[in-house]
């Protein structure tokens, strides 16, 4: 009888992904576009923090203002997060079709899902790291702000301290929402066999959703008296907004977690299935 050693599955399927992840990072951190995006984020965070420290004594009459400054970091990342997910995904996929390097990744019998998973995993990790660093900085600055507590540094709308559960959800939502758009971008890159296609269409979807939904809701409400937000909240943009705590105050943000996970899983699954079944060209040189 053949004995299967414990950990065989791990070493057989996960280890190559981890190895591929390492070499994805080896390439990604040498990309100028990646360095430029990370540099801009770092610069924005530093400017906000410096502003918070310099202006900390200017808002003695306001219970919210000192903590609101570091909150800007979080707010900014919430707004730009999906775009960040889209751009980072476009960077890790960029050139793979044009240069034909998907062939290099899939040579020697390497399963294509491993290469794609390593890319998506790397972008997820980068997004998580960006959020962890910003959360730590926000919290640290919130502590400096004093009497309103750590969580108020993150959600200072009311000036009241919110619970750790809500803080954690906000953090989780800010990571998960961009990952859903990251999966959408990956799917579109593979579908169109072009990073430009993936970047353009996923950005158009995000912008289109963000601008069309409020207009559609307004028209539906004014003309027909229908609240279409009830339906729109289950779309990708609706769910990711809800997850980030920006939908409405009455809906529990946790409801959106399975919805966003379902979108992410669907896009990811389709990406891997398409990539595995399609022929790989040698690019354009």
């Amino acid at each position: 009888m053949t004995m299967i050693a414990p950990g065989t599955i791990v070493s057989g399927s996960i280890a190559p992904v981890i190895s591929a992840l390492r070499w994805e990072w080896f390439r990604l951190h040498r990309r100028m576009a990646f360095r430029a995006i990370m540099g801009m984020i770092a610069l924005a965070v530093v400017l906000i923090l410096v502003g918070a420290v310099l202006l900390r004594n200017e808002f003695d009459d306001s219970p919210v203002a000192p903590a609101a400054f570091p909150f800007l970091i979080f707010l900014a990342l919430t707004v730009v997060g999906p775009f960040l997910g889209i751009f980072l995904t476009a960077i890790v996929f960029s050139g793979e079709y044009g240069w034909g390097t998907l062939r290099a990744l899939a040579a020697r019998g390497n399963p294509r899902w491993q290469a794609a998973s390593a890319k998506l995993l790397l972008v997820s990790i980068v997004l998580a790291v960006v959020w962890i660093v910003s959360w730590i900085l926000s919290t640290a600055t919130g502590l400096l702000a004093g009497e309103y507590g750590i969580a108020s540094a993150i959600v200072p709308f009311t000036g009241e301290t919110v619970g750790w559960g809500e803080t954690a959800l906000l953090f989780f939502g800010n990571v998960l929402a961009p990952i859903a758009y990251m999966s959408l971008t990956a799917l579109l890159c593979v579908l169109g066999r072009s990073t430009t296609f993936g970047l353009a269409v996923s950005s158009a979807i995000l912008i289109g959703e963000s601008t069309a939904y409020p207009v559609a809701a307004l028209i539906a409400g004014e003309l027909y008296g229908i609240d279409i937000w009830e339906y729109l909240r289950w779309t990708l943009r609706g769910a990711t907004s809800g997850l980030a705590g920006r939908f409405d105050e009455t809906t529990n943000a946790w409801y959106f977690v399975p919805v966003v996970l379902a979108y992410t899983g669907l896009f990811w699954g389709l990406t891997l299935a398409l990539l595995s079944r399609r022929d790989l060209g040698s690019g354009n040189g």
């Binding site: 080896f26 034909g100 022929d279 040698s282």
Partner: protein
């Protein structure tokens, strides 16, 4: 000679690939013996690259079976590809990385082991040691890219090597170096090399066996020496009559004799023996050249398309 598909390095059966209405590879059945260099010849669009891309796992066959290094089926092919290096169509690398970093990256992804010592050795083998290896791939010349592609294919010392026109873009000395490298790689480790080429003399010089494709079909597969008419050498001497007598006496097949000179059946590379034979007999050569090699004649014969009128009859 029939090759047992079990002992073959590569065996394909009924292999077909369609792109829409175009049939790029049409029901190809082929067995390539382990060890040696197998040449794949064919005009542009004959299906060579498509066939090789299917062997390397880049294209999915529409129909048919592939057995690589004795392992059949999709999972078997995937396992065998771990021991297969390929350079198909053109080298594909990340242009913003140096040649060395590209190889490091691929070595890590393929988990072939070997470390930096292997990369140094491969760069040296393909003539890219020194500063050239530090140049970004995007800034490399066509020849350097091609050499790097060969180095990547050799990562992990594969048992099977698939090379699609590896001398493309190389200068004459580079072409000679690569041909010598291919021969030495086949001889040193007993590995199997499949070499697709447009160049008949390249296949003639480097390959033991050859397959000829046309219109997606395999028209011939067998030893190079058995393909088509025997190669001939044209020779003009100071005394053609005496030369013919001398050569016949020495066992040479004098195919034709005319006022211009003699045509002698001789494999490529044996011209000097004819010259020596004649000089020893006191007949001196004024002109000596190969006349349409065996492969050229055979290639034209097997790739010839029937005339429309005849096809209809």
């Amino acid at each position: 000679m029939t090759i047992d598909s079990n002992s073959a390095a590569v065996a394909v059966s009924g292999l077909t690939k369609r792109f829409g209405r175009v049939c790029a590879v049409d029901d190809v059945t082929l067995a390539i013996p382990a060890g040696g260099v197998y040449g794949l010849l064919g005009p542009n669009g004959s299906g060579k690259t498509t066939l090789l891309s299917m062997l390397a796992g880049f294209l999915r066959p529409t129909a048919g079976e592939i057995t690589l290094l004795g392992q059949a089926g999709a999972s078997g092919q995937q396992a065998a590809l771990h021991r297969t290096g390929a350079l198909i169509e053109r080298p594909t690398f990340w242009p913003y990385l140096s040649g060395r970093d590209n190889l490091r990256c691929l070595q890590g992804i393929y988990a072939t082991g070997g470390g930096s010592g292997e990369i140094d050795e491969l760069l040296d083998t393909v003539g890219l040691a020194g500063d050239a290896s530090g140049r970004k791939f995007g800034a490399c010349s066509t020849g350097m890219k091609q050499r790097l592609g060969i180095a990547a294919a050799l990562l992990g010392n594969p048992s099977l090597l698939i090379l699609d026109e590896p001398t493309n873009g190389l200068d004459p000395s580079g072409i000679i170096e690569v041909r010598q490298l291919i021969r030495s790689l086949a001889q040193a480790d007993g590995r199997t090399i499949i070499l697709a080429s447009h160049l008949l003399n390249e296949v003639e010089q480097v390959c033991d066996r050859v397959g000829v494709m046309a219109r997606g079909q395999l028209r011939y597969s067998g030893p190079v020496a058995e393909m088509g008419a025997p190669a001939q050498v044209f020779v003009r001497t100071t005394d053609d009559g005496a030369a013919a007598t001398l050569l016949r006496a020495a066992g040479w097949d004098v195919v034709a004799q005319s006022n211009d000179g003699l045509e002698i059946a001789a494999a490529p590379g044996r011209e000097w023996e004819i010259s020596r034979e004649l000089a020893n007999g006191g007949v001196y050569v004024s002109e000596l050249r190969s006349v349409g090699g065996a492969l050229e004649a055979g290639f034209l014969e097997v790739t010839a398309e029937p005339e429309p009128g005849r096809a209809a009859q």
